[in-house]
């Protein structure tokens, strides 16, 4: 602040050393460091942790939350929130299951399901952006209504009798290297992360997402279609929840009306843990990916150690708070108080 005013020319500032650049990178990507620390701890606690079978398992389990968290990243980057993703995931699975059990071609059923969830997402985004209703309220209504709708169309019971091919999708393994296979679900999750990361970094839409979240008024006065951006991120979140729901149904081989309860909170936790600011404009998919995997590793290690879910929940909460405090500290040190 001071330097720019007292007229010190840019050239006079000393070159930053390699060491401090590395340090800055470590600070910026601290969630990756934390992730590998936790992985190291997990490895030392249980010999079963670092086996390929367990890793494949991690990806399989992380996928549904992970994909929803990618959509949530877009929403939170615009300083909004989507509480409906859990219900939307369940609705997606149920709509697809119902259509397929009635004999609709699986391909068509998948396509129509995604159109429905994307449309509902866009609708919520539209209400929030154009009627100026906080997205918290709109998507809270979505959380309740979509769950209700799921029960309504299924009459509260699981739907089975899905085509074999559809069920196989969720359990297919893909060879990623000779002798190593990952579940197709995990591969889809990783692919979605990569695409989302590229969209945020290399498209104008991605720039608009950051700008809208950073300062919506400044973005609007720069001619950005900020309301359409909000509609688009909610549509993306709906699409992601839709894909997650389809994969979940494929893995379970039934449409389950009670599926994915509380998923929205896991997704939000992962996004925030991954360093995306709830105030918008800062963060990204890379952090979300590592945070999703981190939470999954925690769950996994508790299972391997034979500790119950009560421990998991307690420790997960503590880890989230610790990570957020670390990020606040970094913000403070970088003068973003």
């Amino acid at each position: 602040m001071l330097a720019s005013d007292s007229g010190i020319p840019a050239a006079a500032t000393p070159r930053r050393s390699v060491g401090s650049t590395v340090f800055d990178l470590l600070v910026e990507y601290n969630f990756i460091v934390i992730f590998f620390v936790v992985v190291a701890v997990a490895t030392s606690l249980s010999g079963n942790f670092l086996t390929w079978g367990n890793i494949a398992n991690l990806f399989q389990q992380a996928t549904v939350v992970g994909i929803a968290a990618v959509g949530m990243t877009f929403v939170i980057l615009t300083a909004n929130i989507d509480l409906s993703v859990g219900s939307m995931t369940a609705l997606s699975g149920m709509v697809a299951a119902l259509m397929m059990s009635k004999g609709v071609d699986p391909f068509l059923a998948v396509l129509m399901t995604l159109v429905v969830t994307t449309g509902f997402g866009a609708l919520m985004g539209g209400i929030s952006a154009f009627a100026k209703v906080p997205s918290f309220i709109v998507t809270l209504a979505g959380l309740v209504s979509f769950r209700g709708l799921t029960y309504l169309i299924s009459e509260g019971t699981p739907i089975s009798g899905l085509p074999k091919g559809f069920g196989a999708f969720g359990s297919t393994l893909v060879p990623v290297a000779p002798g190593y296979e990952l579940p197709l679900m995990g591969v889809i999750f990783v692919a979605i992360c990569i695409v989302a990361g590229l969209v945020l970094r290399y498209t104008v839409f991605g720039e608009y997402v950051y700008a809208t979240g950073g300062n919506a008024e400044a973005a609007r006065l720069s001619g950005l279609p900020t309301r359409l951006v909000v509609v688009a991120v909610f549509a993306a979140s709906g699409l992601m929840a839709g894909i997650g729901g389809l994969l979940l149904t494929s893995r379970l081989r039934i449409g389950q009306p009670t599926a994915a309860q509380g998923l929205e909170l896991d997704a939000i936790a992962a996004v925030v843990l991954g360093g995306t600011s709830l105030f918008g404009g800062r963060g990204g998919v890379l952090g979300t990916f590592f945070a999703v995997m981190l939470l999954q590793v925690l769950r996994n290690i508790f299972n391997l150690l034979g500790l119950g879910s009560f421990y998991q929940m307690t420790v997960t909460g503590v880890i989230i708070i610790a990570a957020i405090l670390l990020n606040r500290l970094i913000d403070y040190r970088m003068g973003r108080d």
Binding site: A10, Y210, L221, L224
Partner: protein
């Protein structure tokens, strides 16, 4: 409130008694205070000043001189890394703003920290409401509020909600709040920024009144003429250090200016220039809109800089926002002979208009985003994919041509000084090749040097063919920089002046009176 009046009266007696004895203790003394922020920003290096009882002490300094930091330290909102504060000769350690208030130091921030949804009386006693049996004693509060408002000559009742008050009356409310805490020193951070000249006169008379009652005022401002009008002494801060304290009365303006900017640099001067010969760019036959906006026969040529003067609320901002498609209007406006009626800022931008909004921080910039991204926001619409290298290559030459000072265009725009931030906003429209520039209070919060830079830039853009409208409440600047000045009054453009012919005082009078006297 009666009680505190008596107290104040007592204090005044003490004070006069003490000074008669020749041993008046300074109310607030700052000794060699420094403030470092991690990692290694030195916001304040060595600041000292001393406020005497019953004086208006001014604090003058350019942007980034460390004024805000010093104020926060005095108010207890920040702790100094070095140095000390003395209150009436005794060392004072403040850990929070409420301790500062309790000690008798009251701070009025530029963005008044009032709660708009609450009433005036609730705001006056926020945090120290009179209570009885643990409940708010509403009657006492009402009485005390009335008393405080009476002392500052306010005409609004204590039960008014603050959001319904004008900015000037909100300012008065903030001053009244200082009175309810029995403040010994009231620190006012640029109270004039949002006030017009008439409202400011009002605030000044309140200040004079308070000083007579024994309260000391620390008055922070950029504007020399204000300091000359209201100040007893002035301390100049530059680059985080106290340069000197002067008696306002005996110090020539040039000395103060030199102290502020560190070298001899003239204030904005009007240079002779050729008459504008470009074709008409923008013609407003008639335009009516919200808040009584009613503009007629307004003409802007290519290469011309037109200034909009007038009191606050005279419709300058509304006019600019209407042209920019942000406020709906009816009427007939032409851009290069074709009808102009943008329905959104996006449409106006496509037609070649660019707005530098009034509030840089809330409307202009994405503070945490990198400089180059801020500068290329409108430019992005021309493509679908982003190459960050290309964006930087686009932004940096323009930023350099505006002599913007930055370390790296990847740094957050928040780290820049006000003047450099404003250049980033301006660069945005140059990069977008806007041809009609609408600048709303572009110099707000800039120091003398940055202002001169800014207007030189505006002039250069106009000479290169742009058509520019500048709205400002500082007539001095418009007078020096514009080819013509329109005076706005209550939403109408009442009178057009030519600064090369018309006298500055004539224009000033017209802005206050709403027409040529």
């Amino acid at each position: 409130m009666t009680a505190s009046v008596v107290q104040l009266a007592d204090r005044k007696v003490q004070v006069t008694g003490a000074s008669a004895a020749g041993a008046a203790v300074d109310v607030l003394t700052v000794r060699h205070v420094a403030k470092r922020f991690p990692p290694n920003i030195l916001a304040l290096e060595d600041a000292s000043l001393s406020v005497r009882p019953g004086e208006v002490h001014c604090l003058l300094g350019a942007n980034g001189a460390g004024k805000s930091t010093l104020l926060k330290i005095m108010a207890g909102a920040m702790r100094p890394s070095d140095g000390e504060l003395l209150l009436e000769g005794r060392p004072l350690k403040l850990h929070s703003p409420s301790e500062g208030t309790a000690a008798g130091i009251s701070m009025i921030y530029q963005e008044l920290d009032l709660v708009p949804q609450l009433t005036v009386e609730q705001n006056l006693f926020l945090g120290h409401a009179p209570t009885r049996l643990g409940l708010v004693d509403r009657r006492t509060r009402r009485e005390k509020a009335r008393e405080a408002l009476r002392r500052i000559g306010a005409t609004f009742p204590p039960e008014t909600r603050v959001e319904r008050l004008s900015v000037a009356n909100q300012q008065l409310t903030a001053i009244a709040r200082s009175l309810t805490t029995d403040a010994k020193v009231i620190i006012m951070d640029e109270p004039s920024a949002a006030l017009n000249e008439h409202e400011l006169k009002n605030v000044f008379s309140v200040i004079r009144d308070l000083v007579r009652q024994g309260v000391s005022i620390l008055y922070v401002s950029h504007r020399l003429n204000e300091i000359q009008e209201i100040g007893d002494r002035v301390t100049v801060l530059r680059g985080g250090r106290t340069i000197d304290t002067f008696d306002v009365a005996g110090t020539p303006e040039a000395t103060l200016v030199e102290a502020v900017i560190g070298q001899n640099r003239s204030l904005v001067e009007r240079a002779a220039r050729r008459p504008v010969t470009g074709d008409v760019a923008l013609r407003v036959h008639e335009m009516t809109g919200p808040e009584g906006l009613d503009i007629r026969d307004f003409e802007l040529r290519w290469g011309e800089v037109i200034g909009l003067s007038g009191l606050n609320g005279s419709g300058r901002t509304t006019f600019l926002k209407a042209l920019f498609g942000d406020v709906p209007f009816s009427g007939h406006v032409e851009l290069e002979g074709r009808p102009l009626k943008p329905k959104s800022p996006a449409e106006a931008i496509r037609l070649g208009l660019g707005l530098v909004p009034e509030n840089r921080k809330t409307e202009g910039l994405i503070l945490d985003a990198p400089i180059y991204r801020n500068a290329t926001l409108p430019f992005l619409r021309r493509s679908r994919t982003v190459s960050h290298r290309r964006l930087k290559e686009t932004a940096e030459p323009v930023l350099r041509s505006l002599s913007t000072k930055y370390k790296s265009s990847e740094r957050a725009v928040r780290e820049l000084s006000g003047g450099n931030q404003q250049k980033v906003v301006l660069a945005r429209w140059i990069i977008d090749r806007s041809r009609v520039l609408l600048l709303d209070e572009p110099s707000r919060g800039l120091d003398v040097g940055a202002k001169a830079d800014l207007y030189a830039l505006v002039r250069k853009l106009a000479d290169e063919g742009a058509a520019v409208i500048v709205a400002s409440s500082e007539l001095e600047e418009l007078y020096a920089a514009c080819d013509a000045i329109w005076v706005f009054h209550e939403g109408r453009n009442v009178e057009r002046f030519d600064p090369s012919i018309d006298n500055r005082d004539t224009i000033l009078k017209a802005s206050i009176l709403g027409g040529r006297a």
